[in-house]
């Protein structure tokens, strides 16, 4: 119902006017995005079929699909893909749950000092990731880190070797990224909550609906149109977010067991200068995310109006 104008139904003068109107609304965005993305994308497609590496940086040529074969032949590919999926899912689930939870709590009218709470809660988003991720690495340090100091001094628990065991190091990176990511989802949800008319809750109260059922039946469905784009893109960004895991685990420690797919791209391109292979892996990542988002958007029906 929100898509009010179906252009083909309008009269011809109005149709012409609407065409222009639409064009002016959309053209700047389309031009800008295409200008930045189109050429690099096609360049990459070509690169992924080439032999460009440190030995052929100027005289590279197209060699076919060998680099793709090499990507899938890489013995660690599937393992790292699995880790990437775990990384993405765990992060997003926590980002959204914590973000929406806090937004709903803050939205209640009796909460005092709302502005101050909000600012405290967005701090993880406000500081540059480069320093916060390294601070978390410091906090996970086995001898000097705040986390182990609290565990051993106040809780009488044994120190955990956070950064030197593969599972713990991966968990440490995920915890850091959850901390970094929930304020964004909270802000989105706070914005979304504003569009829900209070009358709906009043009516529900008259019917005697519990807080939980109000959340299930009013808040969730009405928050959806605002959250779906954030979640979709959150998944894409987290899948490709090299910074946090790289900084927290110092580039894959221990023993390269805390990598996600993009850190392979980075390593291949910039420590081994295997540009062809890195481009092919980028295309594979692209294909994975493309397939995923198509399915996700179809199932959530996000392109169409929500209600």
């Amino acid at each position: 119902m929100a898509a009010i104008s179906n252009i083909s139904e309008a009269s011809s003068a109005e149709r012409r006017y609407l065409r222009w109107f639409l064009f002016l609304l959309l053209a700047p965005t389309i031009v800008l995005v295409l200008a930045v993305v189109a050429y690099p994308f096609f360049f990459n497609v070509v690169l992924s079929m080439s032999n460009m590496n440190i030995y052929h940086i100027h005289d590279w040529k197209v060699i076919g699909l060998q680099q793709y074969a090499a990507v899938f032949a890489e013995p660690r590919f599937w393992e790292v893909l699995f880790k990437t999926v775990v990384w993405t899912l765990v992060n997003i689930v926590f980002h959204v749950t914590i973000g929406v939870f806090l937004a709903v709590l803050l939205h209640q009218s009796f909460v005092r000092g709302r502005g101050a709470w909000r600012v405290l809660l967005i701090l993880p988003w406000a500081l540059p990731q480069y320093i916060t991720a390294l601070t978390w690495r410091g906090m996970f340090n086995s001898q000097f880190g705040a986390i182990n100091l609290v565990l051993t001094k106040y809780m009488n628990m044994p120190a955990v070797d956070w950064l030197t065991s593969p599972f713990e190091a991966f968990a440490a990176a995920i915890m850091t990224n959850i901390w970094l990511g929930f304020p964004f989802m909270m802000v989105i949800a706070l914005g979304g909550l504003q569009s829900i008319p209070a009358e709906l809750y009043e009516a529900a109260e008259v019917d005697g609906a519990s807080a939980w059922s109000q959340f299930r039946n009013i808040t969730m469905p009405l928050l959806r149109p605002v959250m779906i784009p954030a979640i979709t893109l959150g998944i894409v960004w987290t899948f490709n977010n090299i910074n946090v895991i790289w900084l927290v685990t110092n580039g894959g420690e221990p023993n390269d067991q805390t990598h996600i797919l993009v850190s392979f791209v980075y390593e291949a391109a910039f420590t081994a200068y295997r540009f062809g292979w890195a481009a092919a892996l980028s295309m594979v990542i692209f294909a994975i995310l493309f397939t995923f988002t198509q399915i996700f958007l179809k199932r959530t029906n996000a392109v169409e109006a929500a209600y």
Binding site: N51, N53, I54, Q143, D161, S165, A272
Partner: protein, 439 residues
């Protein structure tokens, strides 16, 4: 207003768009709309517009840090103050980024005129055809004054002129805990044992004898060489799965698990913090770290890494030259001024000053033989370490060695694999990476 906001040093080149004053006024008029035009105009002004003067710039990207960076900026200012037709402009970048950004920039036909970095970059830059041999610009009589370490060659061409050799790891000890440094490994174990203690009696060790970075294989090399091993043969093939390697790794594991003289796990920052807070009596670290110990108030001493009396080898760290290379895109008409800059920054008088103020090891014969250098105690200590050190290999596959050794080294130091397994993993990992690099 345009000129008022102009930065003092205007860029003559490399600017996107230049707006003469009167045009920016016209940009100004409709600018009330969102203030957008105003901001855009500011952007253009801030980005700096060419003022048409013909001062030429020699740009240098470097990775000098700490006291060395401060010194470098000072001598560059001195140079700029005495030259009016050309100026030096510098840009710091972290070592790895410096190399990557330089390769991207130079492959695209741009980049700085000069790039300063460690010698292990040279073969990669030469292989990617992003630098030109220094002999194109610097005359032979200048180059001939350098020691062999000061000229970095690869495939029979000279690619880099150094202003120092360094990056050599040494034995650094806290004199308040450890009165003197050990000469041999046997001595080391005894001395460290006497200072490794459980101070509060809670059953855990509060102060270790020695610590170092367990995550970078660079810090493992002295042990490998101390047991007679080396990373590669003369062709650059890995020689990591050898009895020497196993013996070296086993020695480290014994230090940790049998004698309990080194901590169970550390990385670079942890090792630094342990030494600076007195939780470790000694540390293995390089010249970049020493001034930090002084400012942390540690009464520290430097010593050559010990001798392995069982094998007859010194523990030999790697040392590397650091110096300048010339971008392949530097236009020929700039050669004279680039030459003048390189000769200023690497010449005998500069190296004398550096040796004096920074205690870096000079690579010009006359400076190395000078009295000032002979009488500088710290420098002589460094020199004795470099004498028993090994030069940084120049092969381009060196990166694959570091990357391939890193993971297994971490596994070994975490106690996850045995010495034999660690050696086997290193060899396999490096071989795979070298193979992969060709695709």
């Amino acid at each position: 207003m345009n000129s008022a906001v102009h930065p003092p040093a205007r860029s003559a080149s490399a600017v996107g768009l230049c707006v003469p004053d009167r045009v920016s006024d016209s940009v100004f008029a409709p600018a009330r709309l969102f203030g957008f035009g105003f901001l855009l105009a500011l952007v253009l002004v801030i980005a700096g517009c060419g003022d048409g003067s013909d001062v030429q710039y020699v740009t240098i990207w470097h990775q000098k840090t700490g006291g060395e960076r401060a010194f470098f900026e000072r001598v560059v200012d001195e140079y700029n103050a005495t030259h009016s037709d050309h100026q030096i402009r510098t840009l710091y970048r972290e070592t790895e980024e410096l190399r990557n950004l330089f390769v991207i920039a130079a492959a695209g036909g741009k980049g700085p005129d000069l790039v300063f970095g460690p010698s292990d970059n040279v073969s990669i830059l030469a292989l990617t055809e992003t630098i030109a041999p220094i002999t194109e610009i610097i005359p032979d009589e200048f180059i001939s004054r350098f020691t062999s370490e000061g000229i970095v060659s690869w495939k029979e061409k000279k690619w880099m002129l150094a202003d120092q050799v360094g990056n050599h790891l040494m034995f650094v000890y806290n004199k308040d805990i450890l009165p003197s440094a050990p000469q041999t490994l046997g001595e080391m174990v005894n001395m460290l044992d006497s200072v490794t203690v459980d101070l509060d009696g809670d059953g855990t060790i509060d102060r270790y004898g020695l610590t170092w970075n367990y995550t970078e294989p660079y810090f493992f090399i002295p042990f490998l060489t101390g047991f007679g091993g080396w990373m590669m043969d003369s062709e650059g093939n890995p020689t990591l799965d050898t009895p020497e390697m196993v013996a070296a790794v086993q020695y480290l594991l014994d230090l940790r698990d049998k004698y309990h003289l080194i901590p169970g796990s550390t990385d670079y920052d942890t090792a630094e913090a342990m030494f600076k807070t007195g939780r470790a009596a000694a540390i293995i670290n390089g010249p970049w770290s020493w001034s930090g110990y002084e400012s942390a108030g540690i009464n520290y001493g430097l010593a050559r890494l010990p001798f392995n009396e069982k094998t007859g080898y010194w523990l030999s760290p790697i040392y590397s030259a650091k110096g300048y290379s010339i971008n392949i895109n530097t236009p020929e008409e700039k050669y004279p001024i680039v030459r003048s800059v390189v000769e200023y920054l690497t010449g005998p008088s500069m190296q004398t000053r550096m040796a004096d103020e920074l205690a870096t090891i000079p690579v010009v014969e006359s400076v190395l033989d000078s009295d000032a250098v002979r009488e500088n105690q710290m420098l002589q200590l460094s020199l004795s370490q470099v004498e028993s050190g090994r030069p940084m290999p120049t092969q381009p596959q060196l990166r694959q060695f570091w990357d391939g050794m890193r993971g297994p080294y971490q596994l070994i130091m975490n106690g996850a694999v045995s010495a034999e397994e660690g050696a086997r993993l290193m060899q396999a990992e490096v071989e795979k990476r070298i193979r992969d690099a060709f695709l």
